[in-house]
């Protein structure tokens, strides 16, 4: 029971981390809280369902979802966020809420308000560890997540691209003066961030065998809580915070039961963290004055 909860908590935490990483990277580079990222999560799930219906292939569904969503991300940064960047952090946030609201409605109108199924079978064995069953889907989620985190860590730490990204995040103008194509960096970060969110969407769709227009509601705002908890713009902190929230939620649900719904708990925690420790639990970044 303990171990089963641990595995489920890690799975949910990994999914949160996939979503939150994109948000965190975007915040790092543009200082924009991008709610619309959760729209990519839902978009990925729908594209995944459509691809799966056509091809019955879970990995094509994953790739197609990520590809379409990253296209959306690129368009959004090019034609929405970058042009209004000069007007302060609040204007892009409001724009992203507008985008997210419109996207959710568009999904509802296009695909209907009901739940679509994605009953993909994952060709991974069900593993038993010390009497605990780890399903193929859980294994897949954990593998994708680990691969993504390792890839991003290598990219940021070991490559010239990563160096350019970090430089841009640190000081956009100076980076530009050093000959870094800041616009291209921003574009690539949105490509990656939206692809990660969409991958999480497809994996969630397979995990719960359900896709609905409002599935992004919860992540949209809970991811904000996670990236604040993780200390904003720090990829390591974000992953740690995601796993923490995933585990806490699972264990609270299993052993304490609900006082308030999950999302309200995350938000109450968010407000408390912002007031008491605005720099986040894991980092020394500054979120407040």
């Amino acid at each position: 029971m303990l171990l089963a909860n641990l595995v489920e908590g890690m799975t949910i935490g990994s999914l949160y981390a996939l979503m939150a990483l994109g948000l965190s990277l975007v915040y790092g580079i543009l200082r924009v809280l991008d709610i619309a990222n959760a729209g990519a999560y839902t978009l990925g799930a729908y594209v995944g369902v459509l691809t799966w219906r056509l091809t019955s292939s879970w990995w094509l569904a994953l790739l197609a979802g990520a590809a379409v969503a990253s296209g959306l991300g690129w368009l959004l940064q090019r034609h929405l966020y970058v042009p209004i960047l000069a007007s302060g952090p609040i204007v892009p946030l409001i724009a992203s809420i507008g985008v997210f609201t419109a996207l959710e409605e568009a999904y509802r109108l296009l695909f209907g308000p009901y739940i679509l199924k994605l009953p993909a079978r994952i060709p991974l064995p069900t593993v038993r560890i010390a009497g605990t069953v780890v399903s193929g889907v859980q294994l897949l989620v954990l593998m994708v997540a680990v691969a993504a985190f390792a890839g991003i860590a290598l990219l940021l730490d070991r490559t010239r691209t990563g160096l350019a990204w970090r430089a841009t995040a640190q000081d956009r103008e100076t980076a530009e003066a050093m000959g870094i194509d800041v616009g291209a960096v921003t574009g690539r970060i949105f490509l990656l961030g939206y692809a990660l969110a969409a991958a999480a969407g497809v994996l969630v769709a397979i995990h719960y065998n359900a896709v609905s227009p409002t599935m992004g509601d919860m992540p949209a705002y809970k991811m904000l809580a996670i990236i604040v908890l993780g200390g904003l713009g720090s990829p390591f902190g974000t992953v740690a915070a995601s796993l923490l929230i995933g585990l806490v939620e699972t264990f609270v649900a299993a052993y304490v039961g609900f006082l308030l719904p999950r999302d309200a708990i995350a938000f109450a925690a968010l407000i408390l963290i912002l007031l008491l420790r605005p720099q986040g639990l894991f980092a020394r970044g500054v979120a407040a004055r």
Partner: protein
């Protein structure tokens, strides 16, 4: 006719809410994405006072106004500690938490909310819908006039200074915290009063009516009309409030419309339709100047 009156009352409530939001987001420039939560708080306070303690509308309205304003003071105090984008997500969080409290704390009646809120009466006369419309319009007039008065006072000038540059405002000796908190108190108290009117008008109060998406609707209205202006708040509330009722097909696409409008406005016309410096406002002003100039030339 009676349907038009119902729409009219709804629109007056929207007007009150956007006018209140305008004090916080427009005058003081503070992001506030949880106005619907304060609207809900006012509605619940009024509904509970009226149904359980038998208070008349004329007493629960001021009670809702004051109590909601006090919670607004709390949010104002929180706002002092946070940079603006974090204030924005705190207000979003507040909206979610308040709705969860309405829904899960038994005192607030759970998902079914509070029913049978009585109709207000004046002497022996019990309110019908037209009476609600009259009271609503009077309240809108009062709040609009008060806002216009605010714009002309030291208080309004200080809020504008805070919006422009908080550090500079503090540097010339303005006590920024006091004025910020006052702006939050006024804006949310207005929402509380609107909530009381709403509770008595609908006679039912449920948590779902005050969700975050309602806050997005209110913000869309204000941004659409023109942030920081009374005419903008009123225009946004009237146009976007009436549109789904007049054009049936719009009501299916209501949230899509609000979302798209919000992002288009922010992207291409941040001043809103009638805000300072918007093309429509500039056009109207030029027209007026031309006509004025011609009139004088003729005379």
């Amino acid at each position: 006719m009676s349907y038009a009156v119902v729409v009219g009352v709804t629109v007056t409530i929207y007007c009150l809410l956007t006018l209140g939001l305008n004090v916080i987001a427009g005058y003081a420039g503070q992001p506030h994405l949880g106005q619907a939560a304060f609207f809900g708080l006012g509605a619940y306070v009024a509904a509970i006072l009226a149904t359980r303690y038998g208070l008349p509308f004329w007493l629960d309205l001021p009670a809702a106004l004051v109590l909601t304003g006090l919670v607004g003071v709390l949010l104002g105090a929180i706002s002092l500690r946070l940079r603006e984008d974090f204030l924005a997500i705190t207000t979003i969080g507040l909206n979610f938490v308040m709705v969860a409290i309405f829904q899960y704390v038994p005192f607030f009646g759970g998902a079914m909310g509070i029913t049978d809120v009585p109709l207000p009466s004046l002497g022996s006369y019990t309110f019908d819908n037209s009476a609600f419309l009259v009271v609503g319009l009077l309240m809108v007039c009062a709040v609009a006039l008060f806002s216009a008065y605010l714009e002309r006072t030291w208080f309004g000038a200080v809020l504008a200074a805070i919006k422009d540059d908080e550090v500079a405002a503090a540097a010339i000796g303005i006590s920024v915290p006091v004025y910020k908190i006052a702006a939050f108190a006024l804006g949310t108290a207005t929402a509380g009063a609107a909530g009381s009117l709403y509770a008595h008008f609908m006679s039912v109060v449920t948590p779902a009516s005050f969700s975050f998406s309602e806050s997005v609707v209110l913000l869309s209205m204000l941004v659409f009309g023109g942030l920081g202006t009374i005419r903008g708040a009123l225009l946004g509330a009237v146009v976007l409030g009436v549109m789904p009722e007049v054009f049936r097909f719009v009501s299916d696409y209501r949230m899509l419309l609000y979302g798209v409008l919000l992002l288009l406005m922010v992207r291409f016309q941040p001043a809103g339709l009638l805000g300072e410096g918007s093309w429509l406002h500039a056009l109207l002003r030029r027209r007026r100047l031309e006509r004025g100039g011609l009139g004088r030339a003729a005379a």
